[in-house]
């Protein structure tokens, strides 16, 4: 058989990126992963809903007084467990504090813990996972085993033990602890993302052309390895918020005077028969917050993962 070159275009990819996986490939202008993802996000109503919710929550945690003039600490035991009253739409809790004010002020702890933990865990995780994936060999074994050690302690379990011992209760200790136990999850993702990015042909080409190591990492690998990390981190943010509330609920997380939905739910839970409103409002606020971040993570994942588009 004579040596043939393909007449016009390669046919290997036919059907690969097409509708339903077996159609022809419509032509399109070349697009980048991020440009494509952004275009996709802007079409997704879930993205808008979650983004607006999160923006609202962030503003709320910075200026809670925008929504309420009542102090969460201004309590009147005489009004203990009373239902809604004028100026107090959510009623009062056992201590006679305004449930609406406490629900509004509670956003600050949740949002702060969620964002700080995620950033810290992502920084540690990317550093460890990225280095392990990029250098491989001994570095990989060492860093991965260190990750495994921390991964071996479930966050909730480790959190209960550790926080009860050091008698913490500040936002700082809770963040530090959850990040220390949470980073291996992100490191694992970062590691495999870096490994697969490293094997991409164009990265190999850059290496062959003599690109320096830092340049390779920053210019070629990081942008491609970042996508899965961002997806996992966004979803993790929601679960960190949920975890903080659980730790506070168990009495080992945040402590008064910090206003936390977890603490309020804990004290309301025993009174659910007498005054369900005390439980429902902070629980609802907590759930909506977690939901917003998880929905954002979903939307970002759908946009960044072309496999399922």
């Amino acid at each position: 058989m004579p040596e043939m070159t393909e007449p016009v275009a390669t046919d290997r990819t036919e059907g690969a990126a097409a509708p339903g996986g077996n159609g022809p490939e419509p032509q399109a202008a070349p697009r980048s992963l991020w440009g494509d993802a952004w275009r996709d996000l802007r079409r997704n109503p879930i993205f808008y809903i979650s983004a607006v919710l999160i923006l609202f929550l962030v503003v709320l945690s910075i200026w809670p007084s925008l929504l309420t003039g009542t102090s969460p600490y201004a309590c009147d035991l005489g009004r203990s467990q009373q239902g809604p009253a004028p100026g107090h739409p959510f009623g009062f809790n056992t201590q006679g504090c305004d449930v609406y004010a406490r629900t509004v002020y509670g956003a600050r702890a949740s949002v702060t813990v969620g964002i700080c933990t995620t950033v810290l865990a992502a920084v540690i995780g990317c550093l460890f996972g990225g280095l392990a994936g990029f250098f491989g060999g001994w570095w990989d074994s060492l860093l991965s085993r260190i990750g495994d050690i921390f991964f071996g302690i479930p966050i909730l379990l480790g959190g209960i033990v550790f926080l009860s011992v050091i008698k913490g209760g500040s936002i700082f200790t809770v963040v530090l602890l959850m990040a220390v136990l949470g980073w291996p999850q992100i490191a694992r993702i970062a590691r495999s993302a870096v490994i697969s990015a490293k094997q991409q042909d164009y990265v190999q080409a850059a290496r062959a052309l003599g690109a320096s190591t830092p340049r390779m990492l920053l210019r070629h690998i990081a942008p491609n390895a970042l996508a899965p990390v961002i997806v996992v981190a966004t979803i993790a943010l929601g679960t960190y918020i949920s975890l903080e509330a659980t730790l506070s609920f168990l009495g080992v997380g945040l402590k008064p005077p910090t206003v936390s939905w977890g603490i309020d739910i804990s004290s309301a839970a025993t009174q659910i028969r007498n005054a369900p409103h005390m439980l429902l409002y902070p629980a609802g606020a907590l759930s909506v917050t977690v939901l917003a971040f998880i929905m954002l993570g979903d939307a970002v994942r759908d946009a960044l993962d072309p496999k399922l588009r």
Partner: protein, 307 residues
Amino acid sequence: MGRYVIRRLLQMVPVFIGTTFLIFVMVYALGDPVAAMFGDRAPDPATAAQIRESLHLNDPLWSQYLQYMAGIFRGDFGTAFNGTPVSELMGSAFPNTIKLTLVAFAIEVVVGVGLGVVAGMRRGRFVDTGVLVFTLLVISIPTFVTGYLLQYFIGVKLAWAAPAVSVDVHIGELLLPGIVLAGVSLAYVARLTRTSIAENIRSDYIRTATAKGLPRRRVVGVHLLRNSLIPVITFLGTDIGALMGGAIVTERIFNIQGVGYQLYQGILRQNAPTVVGFVTILVVVFLAANLIVDLLYAVLDPRIRYA
């Protein structure tokens, strides 16, 4: 395959030592077990010193750790500060928690995988959207909230199930706590299964299976499920940790005298031997589950086995 098993086992050794040491350090080095024994009272210095000596608390930390681990391998988890051997507490607590976890695990697998398969095969349709919304809601509402709400509505208001579990812990009573404990994990399993199915259903080998003239049942049952469930099984293994952590919350809500309950009591009373003992066991279970999953992964995916 043999080499793979040995490599995984060897990798587990440093992880096991590291994890248990970490817990040991957390409890013994950062806390003060002797002060904790006396609660708010200031201990008599002489007595305190005597206790420190008898508990080897004056030895270097690594030596304490070695002595402790040596004890564990003999089945001796030390004695709680009230005089009960920790292993005795374990004997009464573990069966209850194992029962609860098994119930939750069964619910997680059956409902989670079932919903995921249905949704993944009808991606973009009504059922799929329904499952997605349901899982989002379940993930967003923290376990302790769902726990109290279900306990209140199903246990108290509707009285369909007992709101608390009796001392004997019947399996039937564990259904409601099991659902609560399984909830979040179940949602994750459903989502993961859905993604995996949706991805694999478009794969070339499924197209081949259809082109071979296999009945739909067989294409799905043999070819699609077999491949799609591999990542789900991996998740289920690591999720054992989440279930055990979650059991602390669930057991507290439904008043089940299991591991979570004992651990919580230990923490409240600053009872270091109880805490370290229980957490060590849980971590070992977690590590073992991860190892089993890794091995199972190799059995299910020949590409790993022969790598």
